[in-house]
Symmetry: C2
Subunit: 294 residues, 2 copies
């Protein structure tokens, strides 16, 4: 058996994603040592109790000493401050990455703080559940899911290849994208669906009156899916919307226009317009299933 590809993996933040990375990295045997730090002493204690990592404390800077791979697993809004804190402890040649659902803002916030002697390779594992915290982590989270790398122009090939190998070892498919393209694609495939799910669950709750408990009780297929999505971590998602503003507003406007088109068709009894769209979306689903199987 060859030596692990990384000597020391340091995770900053040990919630659903950080905890899952720790467990998946151990499963893969890809790091000789896995350490973590988090701002909350309670979370650190939980991570130790769950044996997620070899060592976990609240010394965010200190934990990076001697690490050849550091992955920032905080909410997007905390990435910049985290980069500032860890910068002095990063060893030359270290790969610094993240797991943020937004890439341009993370690059904007982190890059200026990082020393020239490290390799910054932003990444986004497109995986998650509605649960959060270290207890939510599990080794299989990334199996068969995409991890998107958005390396900056001028980054050497070798650290990007090493990070790609890391994520493949964790079970992911890896793709490289331009950061701006990433943010536009995720705005429609992930950020807008989450915003809509949050909205509709709130709208349903506000209906109030004698129907309120019935609404929850008879929550049908569609709505139950939405409540699950709308239970996702509030801090993480606030940060996503605050940091992918332009792309989200752009797709939100298109969505609103399309929804008004259907609203008008319902008001005027134009069933053919609904039928045409519903037939088209069914075909899109089939194309998606076909893509997965291919």
């Amino acid at each position: 058996m060859s030596a692990p590809a990384f000597r020391r993996l340091a995770l900053i933040g040990i919630g659903l994603i950080g905890g899952s990375i720790a467990l998946a990295a151990r499963r893969a045997g890809i790091a000789a040592e896995i350490v973590a730090a988090t701002r909350s002493a309670e979370t650190a204690a939980t991570a130790m109790r769950l044996k997620l990592v070899d060592r976990c404390d609240t010394d965010v800077a200190g934990v990076c000493a001697g690490a050849d791979l550091v992955i920032v697993c905080t909410p997007v809004g905390a990435c910049g401050e985290t980069a500032r804190l860890i910068a002095p402890s990063l060893q030359p040649g270290c790969i610094v990455s993240d797991v943020g659902s937004v890439k341009q803002a993370v690059i904007r916030d982190m890059a200026p703080h990082l020393p020239a002697h490290v390799h910054f390779v932003p990444a986004h594992p497109v995986a998650g559940t509605e649960n959060s915290g270290p207890e939510a982590g599990f080794a299989e989270l990334f199996d068969g899911r995409w991890c998107i790398l958005t390396p900056l122009p001028g980054t050497p090939v070798e650290p990007v290849d090493r990070l790609e190998a890391f994520w493949k070892a964790l079970g992911s498919h890896v793709e490289r994208l331009d950061a701006a393209d990433h943010d536009r694609i995720l705005a429609i495939t992930s950020h807008l669906p989450h915003l809509i799910a949050y909205t509709i669950v709130g709208t349903a709750d506000d209906l109030g009156g004698h129907l309120n408990s019935e609404v929850l009780r008879f929550a049908a297929g569609g709505f139950r899916d939405f409540t699950r999505i709308a239970a996702s971590d509030p801090t993480m998602w606030r940060d996503v919307f605050m940091n992918n503003r332009e792309a989200v507003l752009e797709v939100l406007q298109r969505f609103q226009e399309d929804l008004f088109y259907l609203q008008r068709a319902i008001r005027w009894g134009e069933g053919d317009k609904l039928f045409d769209l519903f037939t088209r979306t069914r075909d899109i689903r089939r194309a998606l299933i076909h893509l997965k199987q291919a």
Copy 2:
């Protein structure tokens, strides 16, 4: 073993719901004979090949002869015409029901055609999948799901109790609601979620350009759920929106207002407004899970 509660169950329409009723009713042993009719000879042949029922043809009126329970399993928009066609064949004391996702329009369209010597008890099994047609049916579809009865004022207790026993035998929980309340509740828990899912999948597809295939490829959690919902039967859902217009437009307007509130918060960087809603919806999800367990 006691005799089956029904002598002959006749299903008009034998797609996902009709087929599943046939299989679940046979599993329960609740009808001595199960027959069906559908407008399409091809569908009838498929139903026979799959052995969903004892007899299936295209004689919609004829199949009702001798039945003591007739369930109309067509799209909502076809219920009125179906009631007109079957009315002359219905035997005295027969229970006539349906499975429509909208109840006021079904009552409006069916009741005038039905003879006084039958008992009309509208019903809505809140269950389904994105698949349709007789091949999609399965016996477990209704297990643990709600079936909502919306009996008309003046209907005797006995036929309503018998239909409730029928649905319980098929595995459902049964509740009785006023038809107008039903339509308002389902507008928010089922109809609006479906309309939104259809819309967002269309919006994503329209983004076009070089991002289009990437959008499908990286379809993340939220979007994948939406494409599944948006693959539901186009005819069924067109009819739902055409026939629950007022309730859907009402909740759609509330939803649009709430979405604009969040859109404005994103534009102006008001993260606290997002955080407050996201925290509230997480609590609603927990209440929902608690309700299920209770």
